[in-house]
């Protein structure tokens, strides 16, 4: 083994250690319990940690950035305002997503905009697969959109769900297996297939877009 090789191995290990140290911060549940005791710093930490995922979810769901921002602010402000009477929560991120969904549904029903997709009381994962608004407007888009729609619908319901659980709720295979009462290995297989499909879909779309402009 030459020196270069040793050095690079050493550094990758260091990198892993550095990465590990980042995930060694207080867990969500620890922060939650600190918030219940009135710890403002814990509140800010939780906000910083989950803001982006909530934003991603909100915008994908209602396609309204300002409404999303206001609703996220309200979700967190409410948690802080009712900190002394908060219940224990197992999965903080899921709780936050659910709260945001509830708020968005309430607001959208008020303005009766897009109420069609909110008939379901349970919050939904389907919206994150709407890629339309990311495409630039052009007359020729329809063809590509149609293709994309087809490929999105070719993700099965369970594939969509697992992608949502992994990428939005941030659950591990083990947690998904517990929640869905299936075994670990089948969760792993399902997620592997779903991500592969998603990759093909997204990369395929990009290629199609590039091809179109050439």
């Amino acid at each position: 083994m030459d020196l270069n090789n040793i050095l690079s191995i050493d550094t990758t290990t260091n990198l892993s250690a550095l990465k590990e140290s980042l995930s060694n911060e207080l867990s969500d549940v620890q922060l939650w319990n600190m918030i219940r005791k009135g710890d403002a710093d814990a509140m800010v930490k939780l906000y910083k940690r989950h803001y982006h995922i909530l934003y991603a979810y909100g915008v994908k769901t209602c396609h309204d950035k300002d409404l999303t921002k206001d609703s996220i602010q309200e979700v967190f402000t409410n948690i802080w305002a009712s900190r002394s009477s908060l219940n224990k929560v197992k999965k903080v991120r899921s709780y936050l997503l659910q709260s945001l969904w509830n708020r968005l549904v309430r607001e959208l029903k008020k303005t009766s905009k897009r109420s069609d997709i909110f008939n379901n009381q349970v919050y939904q994962s389907e919206q994150i697969f709407s890629f339309e608004h990311q495409l630039i407007d052009s007359e020729h888009n329809n063809e590509r959109l149609k293709k994309l729609d087809q490929s999105v619908s070719s993700l099965s319901k369970s594939q969509k769900e697992i992608i949502f659980l992994i990428f939005y709720e941030g659950l591990s295979y083990k947690e998904i297996a517990e929640r869905k009462s299936v075994n670990y290995q089948s969760v792993k297989n399902l997620s592997h297939k779903a991500i592969k499909k998603l990759r093909e879909m997204i990369i395929g779309l990009i290629l199609a877009t590039v091809y179109f402009f050439i």
Binding site: S8, T11, L15, Y51, K65, T77, F167, I195
Partner: protein
């Protein structure tokens, strides 16, 4: 956990740290993945593909907007913390009596409102928010006689009335503070991950979320730079604290006031500035957008402009860095000579 060396695309897109780096723009995670790419240049394509997938899965908020929301939230929390504080011993019987009297009035008013059948609103927080857009500057006078000059594209939140023992404000962007001395009421600026605590001084803070560092530059008096509730640095006049946001590194050094504070005298001053730096400053100052695809000479530019039009400044700089330009509405096109 799987070794980073054996990472496949599937591992990468599911990695929390990688997601934070791409989706949240987390600076701490950015360090890791940039280092990873240096160690494994052969995985560049995989990394790019993973980024594409994550970018398609999530909608992203621009850093400026995120920091603005965060600042608003912190001010809301601070305003709601007070109920714990106010449970301390009352300083005099008179205060107590006044408090009871006020409470009685509030109660009566409240009962009257309830009686009228109006809905109960959650407590309204009396924070004031002041924003400047690109190309705009503003001077504020707070009720404690503190003077704040805000640079372009900045935002400040402060309470309508300061409490008896603390003056707290929240900043994003750049501002020059001249804080009225009050030994009994420290003045704290919450900015990014830092708190800047003073009694009465003049200092400049610069925190644009899209820039790498957060700078606190002291002109007179004394300030404490606090992070995670601990005093990290104490500044004396003509020194500044530079906080590198990705690594959390905080260092003290001296600074050139004529360069750092030029903006508040409406002077634009460059000292060996790169073309990129010049663009950032001018975009903010004149509310324009630069468009350039050619590589403009990266040699540093040094120069000073006072109350000059954008066109005059550009022809001055263009002469040195050898470019020509066209200004149309809010757009500046740069061509290589």
């Amino acid at each position: 956990m799987k070794n980073l060396d054996d990472y496949t695309l599937e591992d990468l897109v599911q990695d929390e740290s990688f997601q934070r780096y791409v989706r949240d723009g987390s600076e701490a995670d950015q360090v890791i993945w940039e280092e990873f790419l240096k160690l494994h240049p052969e995985k560049e394509q995989m990394l790019e593909e993973a980024k594409t997938i994550i970018n398609r899965l999530y909608a992203k908020i621009p850093p400026v907007e995120f920091h603005h929301e965060l600042m608003k939230f912190r001010s809301i929390i601070a305003a709601n913390k007070d109920e714990v504080k106010s449970e301390r011993h009352t300083k005099s019987v008179w205060r107590y009596a006044v408090a009871v009297f006020v409470a009685a009035i509030v109660l009566v008013t409240w009962l009257l409102i309830i009686h009228k059948g109006s809905t109960r609103e959650p407590e309204v927080l009396s924070n004031v928010e002041r924003n400047t857009s690109k190309g705009q500057r503003a001077t504020l006078f707070l009720k404690d006689s503190t003077r704040i000059k805000m640079n372009a594209q900045s935002s400040l939140i402060y309470p309508e009335r300061f409490s008896d023992d603390l003056r707290e404000v929240y900043l994003r962007g750049e501002a020059f503070f001249e804080v009225e001395r009050d030994e009994n009421r420290p003045f704290i600026v919450h900015v990014g991950d830092l708190d800047v605590k003073v009694l009465g001084t003049a200092f400049n803070i610069r925190f644009y979320p899209e820039e790498e560092t957060l700078d606190v530059s002291l002109v007179s008096g004394k300030v404490e730079v606090i992070r995670n509730d601990r005093v990290q640095l104490t500044l004396t006049p003509n020194t500044e604290a530079i906080f590198v946001r990705s690594t959390g590194q905080l260092t003290k050094s001296s600074f050139d006031p004529s360069l750092k504070l030029a903006w508040k005298e409406n002077v634009i001053r460059f000292d060996k500035a790169s073309f990129r730096e010049i663009v950032t400053v001018l975009e903010r100052w004149y509310n324009v957008q630069f468009i350039y695809d050619e590589h403009i000479s990266s040699a540093g530019f040094t120069g000073e402009f006072e109350n000059m039009s954008l066109e005059n400044i550009l022809s001055g700089i263009g002469h040195t860095l050898e470019f020509e330009f066209e200004v149309e509405r809010q757009q500046v096109r740069i061509f290589k000579k």
